[in-house]
């Protein structure tokens, strides 16, 4: 574990019980390796450890009987603070509330839409699932199947400009109070299509959720930045049921100020959880 490794570093260098500033810096280098191995953006790691160093070069660490623990406590606190400190929730404003789901290709948007529909149903809401992805083969079938699984109505809107108003009308007629909108995956390096920006302008969705794969490496903040013009209100980090350390959960709030609101922890509709910064901090540190 990182605590063991740090203790080892300090034992090898610390010599006679009292830690020097150089020893603390050696410890920080070890932590830096752990953050980078966890896919934290290299610049975010540098800045974060810079803030930690300021705090760590005080008596708290240098004169502690357990300097490794003490240093890690500071790091853990700084991570959790950067990731938002406390769990966030969806805004769900509007009548009906519109939740627009966007993100890069293959991140888990369509699956997350199904999960959101189930999540909101459990909270007493009445969602409508809308497919605005005319380009991916069988996208409508995929969302329609998920809609059936979570017992939520489905509407296909392949031409968003003309079909989405019809979806809103259907929502009002069927007394659905939340509309969840699935969109095409954006290829890496491309900006979101013009019609998506137009959609946001015309319909002002209360929530614009960016769905991003937790396996994403150093590109996470860069990829997320491309979606900011759409007015992203929160990020859903998916595939955290594997062994990815999920450094993107730190890089994105740190660089873009965008909170992680939910996490995907599996392929089933029930595999959606709130985001807990403290838990994520421990996961990133390994």
């Amino acid at each position: 574990s990182l605590t063991e490794r740090l203790t080892q570093i300090f034992r090898n260098l610390g010599g006679k019980g009292k830690l020097s500033e150089a020893d603390v810096r050696a410890g920080l280098r070890g932590i830096r390796q752990a953050l980078l191995a966890a896919d934290v953006h290299w610049q975010v790691a540098r800045e974060l450890l810079g803030r930690v160093e300021e705090q760590a070069l005080g008596a708290k660490v240098l004169q502690s009987l357990t300097p490794a623990q003490q240093l890690l406590a500071i790091v853990r606190q700084e991570l959790a603070r950067t990731m938002g400190g406390q769990a966030q929730s969806l805004r769900l404003t509007g009548r009906p509330a519109t939740v627009l789901v966007v993100g890069p290709a293959g991140g888990g948007k369509t699956t997350t839409c199904g999960k959101l529909a189930r999540w909101l149903s459990k909270k007493g809401r009445h969602p409508l699932l809308v497919c605005c992805d005319p380009q991916r083969p069988a996208a409508a079938e995929q969302l329609a199947t998920l809609a059936r699984q979570v017992e939520v109505p489905f509407h296909n809107a392949p031409n968003p400009e003309t079909d989405f108003p019809a979806a809103l009308k259907k929502a009002r007629q069927e007394l659905r109070d939340v509309v969840i909108v699935d969109t095409p995956g954006v290829p890496p390096g491309e900006a979101p299509p013009g019609w998506l920006a137009q959609f946001v302008k015309v319909h002002s969705p209360g929530d614009v959720l960016l769905v991003l794969d937790a396996l994403t490496g150093q590109e996470a903040a860069q990829i997320a930045a491309g979606f900011l013009p759409l007015g992203v209100t929160g990020v859903v980090l998916t595939k955290l049921d594997g062994d990815a350390r999920g450094g993107a959960a730190l890089s994105i709030p740190a660089r873009l100020g965008c909170p992680i609101v939910l996490v995907g922890v599996g392929e089933r509709p029930s595999d959606l959880e709130p985001f807990y910064p403290q838990r994520m901090a421990d996961r990133i540190l390994g």
Partner: protein, 277 residues
């Protein structure tokens, strides 16, 4: 700092950051930079010279990873595509199938993802677009049974290749990894040999988890190659460097877009240049 002749500590840090940003990982980034520092010890090269040396080092590291496609002897040759969720397997299956068909060969696709919503529909649609025949069962069917049927069909109809699409799965899920082993055994029982190609499809935007993916999928099926997808963006796919170093699994193709024609062979020199620039 750059182009001023004298290399400073900052220059070396900048070089390491460049490599880190490309997802090569902290170990390899540190190693490559130390090697360059040794090489330029006592000299004052320009930034361009150092960058060129780095490109050369990366290219050399990866040169053994190039394995141009060579048709297997046995027919039908079976190509099994595996990988984590959303990596681009289904799209890549059809891209490769289409490419093989373009060489005048008869290709059959097997829809062995019987789990995910509309996975079979998706493969059927893409197969239609590429004018390739697809064998599928109903959703929820046993993937091994689909592969058995498809292979029997390929053998009796004289297809040169069978391309098998499988469901995405995270490598840490043991039962799902064992399912892949079972699929290989189904092929082996019918053919007397396992699938000729067992290819891991890796998303270029994935970070260090790619190494875990390669290790565990390799344990499950014995990978014969990698395909790296989504290289049409800013991601460099640098995680293939530590994979190559640790496991020696060659890289056959690169996916460079969502269109079925967006498939190119892996070239170490080109990959190195794109990574370093």
């Amino acid at each position: 700092v750059r182009g001023q002749g004298a290399l400073t500590q900052e220059t070396w840090e900048e070089l390491e950051d460049l490599l880190l940003a490309a997802d090569v990982g902290p170990e390899l980034a540190g190693e490559l930079v130390s090697r360059l520092r040794e090489r330029f010890d006592g000299q004052s090269p320009a930034w361009e010279e150092v960058q060129a040396a780095l490109e050369e080092a990366v290219g050399e590291l990866l040169s053994g990873a190039e394995r141009p496609w060579s048709p297997p002897e046995g027919s039908p040759g079976v190509l099994l595509f595996v990988g984590v969720n959303g990596s681009g397997k289904t799209t890549t299956c059809v891209k490769v199938g289409r490419w093989l068909a373009g060489q005048g060969q008869r290709v059959l696709l097997a829809a062995a993802d019987t789990f995910r919503a509309a996975a079979i529909d998706q493969l059927r649609r893409l197969g239609e677009e590429a004018q390739l025949e697809v064998i599928a069962h109903r959703p929820g069917a046993d993937p091994g049974a689909v592969v058995h049927d498809a292979l029997a069909h390929a053998r009796s109809q004289g297809h040169r290749y069978l391309v098998v699409d499988t469901a995405g799965r995270l490598q840490t899920k043991r039962p799902l990894m064992e399912e892949l082993g079972k699929i290989c055994r189904v092929v082996e029982k019918l053919q007397g040999r396992p699938p000729e190609e067992r290819l891991l499809v890796v998303d270029a935007t994935v970070g260090q988890n790619a190494i875990s993916q390669a290790e565990l999928f390799h344990q499950a099926v014995g990978l014969t190659g990698l395909v790296v997808t989504k290289l049409d963006g800013s991601a460099k796919g640098g995680a293939v460097l530590p994979i190559w170093r640790a496991l020696g699994i060659p890289i056959l193709w690169l996916g460079v877009g969502q269109a079925l024609s967006d498939l190119v062979p892996f070239r170490a020199r080109d990959f190195a240049r794109a990574l370093v620039r």
